[in-house]
């Protein structure tokens, strides 16, 4: 679209490479590469953890989700930030005292079981790749929305830059970069918001926001059938809308309101066109220039009017339409003010069990944060357990300061850029909203700042994932499983080779996920982490009776069942699978944490009780290593 945002993106990319190269001087030993020499100070490590954690989902996804779903989406940032409290209370201190390089080290060291290391490594890679895909998508989408680059180009840029940084400097190389990127992101989410709120005025706060309206002349780009369900436009029930079709398309029309069994059969048509063409099998056609007018209808039950509905158009071919008329009309796909502002709106109520959905989401986010291996591994870079706890406290403050802005962006987007609802691209609100300003130069500069912030988000999160996955390959798979006799120097080479390999695979995976929501994909990673690593670390640190069999089975059962439920739920949404499940089951499939986390914990307990004989004889000294203050001399790094 313009060169100014592009210049900002180039700037942040060069800064990333430059700081990476500077920080890399002196990264020589294996300890430097895997855990940055265990000498990262509290403030630096907290900035780096926050920088790594604030990903595409945080920078773009939450604002988009709040814009789309309103209050219910507030649980996402709160869960992302507050999850660290659980991490602090139960995991941070003990995990650091154990002193490993990777989380699978903990798995093996705590239970003396090399087999368990393999299970644990599998999950590091599983969660890592799931988390990588949305970062790649964010990079592709951002570059295509600011520069009209093809989707793959942004992925190639972010992937190559970060793979380079990680391969030359490992953890030591990325720590300073991630710390810098936290502050860059905080700046990019806050300053443009203040400017926009000052210029655009009212509507910056949720309860005073006007209804989202489209002005006549607004053009809406619509995706085709391949993007289902993002190819649908639900028109308002309050008033009719007239629009002109600009490119020919086929479409299907149904009630926007969900039909109930007690409804009387409807009769009057919900739409009309100036040029009628016959419908075949429920599919109508519109040529370029066709003008369509919607006419909302009452829906009755036993003769009593119970609701009004507008039509829902599902477009089979990609097209563009233009709103015409003299008055602004309510934006299609936008929830009403009441549903948007109040709890239990469209997001949590869609399967009819809003309270259950909310609780399950909270559990997934809070427990999932405490179960993400690429975040947990950073606690090993602290000098000791006390520093690990203090770091967590700082992280919570830094994350809160950032997240408080994201719902406000969603609020502004709802008021001032409602066409994003119809385009199903609320994910891009942070990038595109500044371009609404009447002063184009200011708009481009602000959009440049947010684009650079978004790039910082993809790059820092991907760095962390790449270190964690390369560590899994080089340290766990190569150094411990395949070649235990290898020298530290060989493992360091393995780390670099692994970084390049994982970097390439990540870019390829990124190409496959253009159609998926960023927030949804991150949700998968959290749900898997919540039901696998969180129970392992919680019980592993606090219950001496946990055996390797219990831990491994619980992790596998919880993690695999969650991922199965989530993937099935997604396939049902995309209509790849067509099975009928009761709404309660659908809700539990989409948000599995409420059953998967207890199931995993329970499996660990029951199986451990049954296999109590396999407890290592030195379990007391292992537990002391986790819990005793360093001054007592009982803790000793598992790997120096």
């Amino acid at each position: 679209m313009s060169l100014i945002p592009f210049a900002f993106v180039v700037l942040i990319t060069i800064a990333t490479i430059g700081i990476g190269v500077i920080a890399t001087r002196g990264a020589k030993t294996a300890s430097d590469f895997f855990v940055a020499g265990r000498s990262v100070g509290v403030m630096m490590n907290a900035s780096a953890i926050s920088g790594e954690y604030l990903s595409a989902a945080s920078f773009m996804g939450i604002a988009g989700l709040v814009m789309k779903s309103g209050y219910d989406a507030l649980w996402y940032p709160v869960g992302y930030a507050a999850g660290y409290l659980f991490l602090l209370l139960f995991i941070a201190g003990p995990l650091r005292r154990f002193g490993a390089y990777t989380i699978p080290d903990f798995a093996q060291g705590r239970f003396d079981s090399p087999t368990f290391r393999k299970v644990a490594v599998t999950f590091v890679l599983f969660i890592g790749f799931f988390y990588t895909m949305p970062q790649m998508k964010g990079a592709g989408v951002t570059m295509s929305s600011i520069l009209n680059w093809p989707y793959w180009a942004g992925i190639a840029v972010v992937g190559t830059v970060i793979t380079f940084n990680v391969a030359i400097g490992g953890m030591k190389g990325i720590t300073l970069v991630q710390a810098f990127q936290y502050w860059a992101k905080l700046f990019a989410i806050s300053i443009p918001f203040f400017v926009l709120a000052a210029v655009l005025g009212g509507g910056a706060t949720p309860a005073n926001a006007p209804s989202p309206m489209l002005k006549p002349g607004t053009k809406l780009k619509i995706k085709g059938e391949a993007a289902a369900p993002a190819n649908a436009l639900s028109f308002p029930s309050s008033t009719g809308v007239t629009f002109r079709v600009l490119t020919p398309t086929r479409f299907k029309v149904s009630d926007a309101r969900k039909a109930e069994p007690a409804d009387d059969p409807g009769s009057a048509p919900l739409w009309s066109a100036d040029v009628s063409s016959p419908a075949e099998g429920g599919v109508s056609r519109a040529e370029a220039g066709t003008i369509i007018t919607t006419s909302p209808q009452d829906r009755t039950q036993g003769g009593q009017v119970v609701a009004k509905t507008g039509p829902k158009f599902e477009f089979l071919d990609p097209t563009e339409i233009e709103v015409i008329g003299s008055e602004p009309v309510p934006a299609p796909n936008a929830p009403s003010n009441e549903k948007w502002l109040n709890p239990y709106g469209p997001m949590t109520s869609k399967h009819g069990y809003p309270l259950l959905y909310t609780y399950s989401l909270i559990i997934a986010l809070v427990c999932g944060t405490a179960g993400l291996p690429h975040i947990l591994v950073r606690f090993y870079t602290n000098p000791d357990g006390r520093a690990a706890k203090k770091t967590t406290l700082f992280v919570m403050v830094m994350l809160g300061a950032f997240y408080v802005f994201t719902p406000l962006w969603g609020t502004l987007g709802r008021a001032f850029m409602p066409q994003l609802y119809a385009n199903n691209s609320t994910d891009a609100v942070v990038i595109r909203l500044p371009m609404m300003l009447e002063n184009p130069l200011l708009g481009q500069i602000l959009s440049g700042i947010t684009s650079a912030g978004a790039f910082a988000a993809f790059m820092s999160t991907f760095s962390g994932l790449l270190v964690s996955m390369s560590g899994a390959f080089a340290h766990d798979i190569y150094g411990r499983i395949l070649r235990p006799e290898s020298s530290p120097q060989q493992r360091l080479v393995a780390f670099k080779v692994a970084a390049i390999g994982v970097g390439i695979v990540s870019m390829l995976l990124g190409l496959l996920v253009e159609q998926f929501d960023i927030a949804t994909m991150v949700g998968w990673a959290f749900a898997i982490g919540a039901a696998s690593y969180f129970p392992l670390l919680l019980l592993g640190a606090w219950w001496r009776g946990l055996t390797k069999y219990g831990a491994a089975l619980g992790m596998l059962l919880g993690g695999l069942l969650s991922v199965t439920a989530i993937v099935m739920s997604m396939l049902l949404d995309k209509k790849v699978l067509t099975m009928d499940f009761p709404p309660l089951v659908r809700s539990l499939m989409e948000q599995p944490a409420i059953w998967a986390v207890p199931l995993s914990l329970l499996t660990m307990y029951v199986v451990s009780k049954a296999t109590a004989k396999s407890l290592p004889s030195d379990v007391t000294s292992k537990m002391l290593r986790l819990h005793a203050p360093e001054e007592l001399g009982l803790s000793k790094n598992y790997v120096d």
Binding site: L74, R386, L393, Y403, T620, G633, K636
Partner: protein, 110 residues
């Protein structure tokens, strides 16, 4: 030599008991908030919807105030947890000169 196993066992019990009690207390407050807010939203929708400076009360609580509340909880935890550790160190270095001998027994790094 002193019986290490018995000493270690007792020390472990003490360390874990005190830290766990603290963690559970703070976690209880946090869980109460997380469980309570959805219930309040369900049963007291009008209270939650009252307008406070452009926000509804429940939006203000979840979208803004929730963060500082968790900051307070975590700083209370960190402070008390460090106190417990200092106490333990003081108790164990004055009552018995046990600690350093353990290091040699660890199989530790390989």
């Amino acid at each position: 030599m002193r019986d290490d196993a018995v000493g270690d066992e007792a020390l472990l019990q003490r360390v874990m008991k005190r830290q766990a009690a603290l963690s559970l207390k703070v976690a209880a407050v946090f869980v109460l908030l997380l469980l309570g807010l959805p219930l309040a939203n369900l049963y007291l929708p009008r209270l939650g919807a009252s307008n406070v400076g452009g926000f509804t009360l429940t939006w203000l609580f979840l979208g803004v105030l929730f963060y500082p509340i968790t900051w307070v909880l975590s700083s209370v935890f960190v402070k008390n947890s460090n106190c417990i550790e200092s106490e333990l160190v003081a108790e164990n270095t004055s009552s018995s000169l046990s600690s350093t001998s353990h290091l040699g027994n660890e199989e530790g790094a390989k």
